[in-house]
Symmetry: C2
Subunit: 210 residues, 2 copies
């Protein structure tokens, strides 16, 4: 299978980590977003929104959106389980994954598009909104504090499971924290010890460097 | 099972439609967001973000986030299938559902929080951002045009399935369009015939009034 990929972007990284946890080999196809290679008519046939990553299956079908690709991979290779095995686990892991996307990733995204790197890349083509960035920076830091509180009682992101284990929600959280920290200039405060312990734990997994 | 619900809000409506399609009875527990009933310490035990809807399962466990609740319902009662039966369908339906959430619902949300209804409800407690709303209004209309183009070739939201059929993506789309139209003041243009045909088709299903 092929994965249309762009190094440094947080979404394709989620899929690479997920596949590595499953032991699934993906042939990476570098697609240079800085040159607009994801917006060509040919690429829009693969994903009508022109977004990276996109999976090309063995039989030449296309699936876009990171979590949709991960669900496909979970269906073709169920173990190790990352989305949940029982109805309750399926619901609870999805709940945590979505909280991370809706309350954390969205805010990182607002800080990113209104921040200095995008200002340089998109100079003049995109009108930035500094007030929106002020609010999203605050929201990212508030979410770090929440993560830190919640991780005081457990080792991984999803609570309520029979065993405290690594799931897709940890992949979403790790990719978000690293993007915020390394590219958006929003690292967690040094005093958030539970958050940093979790970060060291998941970063030590071989999949983290996929 | 109980569903903590708030009439008029688009997210609990998604779950009510989904359950109605499955023929699953939910006992609705009205939770008045205008009185902050979703932010009490007791409610935060059910969902740490204080959001509606929340499902209480038969054995007293809690699942928040609309799509997470729907996944639980799909797992306990697989038919009629709404998330996909094969790996490809599972990926493709999730892809379309997420495109609708990430590119359409997010924009409706920005227009909503920066619009006149919230200005009145949250007077003084929330600083609105008119520039953000201008952009999101434009994005909502651009997405309507995209939906209209895509629905020229098919009856339902998810393309690429063996049969052209109703899925969770149609529920996400219907709840979004109706919220934008009825409460945010952003109805689709009258000339978007394919979009309106689809809207009439899915609105005629008994589940739409759940």
């Amino acid at each position: 299978m092929k994965l249309y990929d762009f190094a440094g972007a947080p979404n394709p990284r989620r899929v690479r980590i997920f596949a590595a946890e499953k032991g699934i080999d993906l042939t990476l196809v570098p697609t240079d977003m800085s040159k607009g290679e994801h917006k060509t008519p040919e690429f829009l046939e693969k994903h009508p929104s022109g977004k990276i990553p996109v999976l090309e299956t063995e039989d030449g079908q296309f699936i876009g959106e990171s979590v949709a690709i991960c669900r496909y991979l979970e269906a073709i290779q169920p173990e190790p389980n990352l989305f949940g095995a029982t109805p309750y686990e399926l619901g609870r892991i999805e709940m945590h994954n979505r909280i991370l996307e809706l309350e954390f990733w969205t805010q990182i995204g607002i800080s990113w598009v209104n921040g200095p790197v995008v200002a340089k890349i998109a100079a003049g083509r995109f009108k930035q909104n500094p007030a929106a960035r002020e609010a999203s920076d605050r929201n990212v830091h508030a979410f770090y504090e929440r993560m830190n509180r919640e991780l005081a009682d457990r080792d991984y992101m999803t609570d309520g499971l029979a065993d405290d284990r690594f799931t897709v929600a940890d992949i979403t959280a790790l990719s978000g924290v690293d993007f915020a920290k390394d590219l958006v200039g929003l690292p967690p405060s040094e005093d958030l010890a539970h958050l940093w312990d979790w970060h060291a734990r998941v970063s030590a997994r071989p999949s983290a460097s996929a």
